[in-house]
């Protein structure tokens, strides 16, 4: 098996708030990220898939096809959007980097022909990122 990684970028707004909590509690747990107006990031997404090399094409998966899948499933939904207000999976889930990685995994899993989704990595900034491999416990 060989692993192949494709990057994509999206720029989105979000905030971290639990609507059941008071303003004070939200500020205590989430700090500046609790600002109810939101703030934003340039996210970098790295999607790694694993598979066998096709003996005719030499590809594991056609990178153009993978790019189109990322565009359709993720970028077109997240880019220049407010994650809390406009992306359905974050209506009641806090759009932390961890949860964004899980949500993207769920959007992509099973949709990539001839390859198995291996890892979803989401960079919120150069010094902060989350990985998800589909594990649950």
């Amino acid at each position: 098996m060989i692993f192949l990684t494709r990057k994509a970028e999206f720029s989105s707004a979000h905030f971290y708030r639990n609507p059941a909590w008071s303003e004070e509690k939200n500020r205590e747990v989430f700090g500046k990220c609790a600002n109810a107006n939101g703030h934003g990031h340039n996210y970098t997404l790295e999607v790694t898939v694993g598979g066998e090399v096709d003996p005719i094409t030499g590809f594991v998966v056609d990178l153009k096809l993978l790019k189109d899948i990322l565009e359709e499933q993720v970028v077109s939904v997240y880019d220049h959007r407010h994650l809390n207000h406009e992306v359905p999976e974050f209506a009641s889930v806090v759009p932390t980097t961890e949860n964004i990685a899980v949500a993207i995994w769920r959007r992509l899993d099973g949709k990539i022909p001839n390859a198995k989704l291996h890892r979803v990595r989401v960079y919120e900034m150069d010094d902060l990122f989350a990985d998800y491999y589909g594990e649950e416990a």
């Binding site: 971290y16 639990n18 747990v29 989430f30 700090g31 889930v93 806090v94 759009p95 932390t96 980097t97 961890e98 949860n99 990685a101 899980v102 150069d126 010094d127 902060l128 990122f129 989350a130 990985d131 998800y132 491999y133 594990e135 649950e136 416990a137």
Partner: protein, 152 residues
């Protein structure tokens, strides 16, 4: 079922070191370490990448409370090693050679012990520690590999 995710944070520290093994002669040290054996030392901007693993808290959405991880990194990493001479000011004073391999082993040992204390679930753990000495040299130590700094 709760998703298990991996959260990584990168910290930068600047330090000087000199690679010199007391058990080797000066000539052997020069042959082994080359310009890294310069008697006056030299320095690097190190990047330390800490990856922790655990269940995503269903309420907060976090694997780890990042301010707590940052506070741990300030206490155990930056306060100890940043703007320091690794040979003179740190745990390496004495017989350790402050190679980046040995720095990685020491920092991994500290974080493997301290990361589980950052939350109450008992499930948070250090997954892997990576140190980039320069843009071209890096060292990774997965936490399931238990190892000790090498005495010279």
């Amino acid at each position: 079922m709760v998703p298990i995710a991996y959260f990584s944070r990168r910290y930068r520290l600047s330090a000087m070191h000199r690679l010199h093994a007391p058990s080797l002669t000066d000539a052997q040290n020069r042959a082994t370490y080359g310009k890294c054996n310069n008697p006056f030392g030299h320095g690097h901007n190190y990047f330390i990448e800490i990856t922790v693993a655990g269940p995503i808290d269903p309420v907060t959405g976090f694997v780890v409370d990042m301010p707590k991880l940052d506070a741990l990194a300030k206490r155990e990493l930056l306060d100890r090693f940043d703007q320091a001479s690794l040979n003179d000011d740190t745990v390496f004073a004495g017989d350790f050679v402050p190679s980046t391999e040995n720095l990685t082993i020491e920092v991994e040992r500290i974080f493997r012990r301290e990361v589980p204390k950052l939350d109450a679930t008992g499930k948070l753990r250090l997954h892997i520690l990576r140190i980039e000495e320069t843009a071209n040299n890096s060292f990774d130590l997965p936490s399931e590999i238990r190892t000790q700094p090498v005495l010279s």
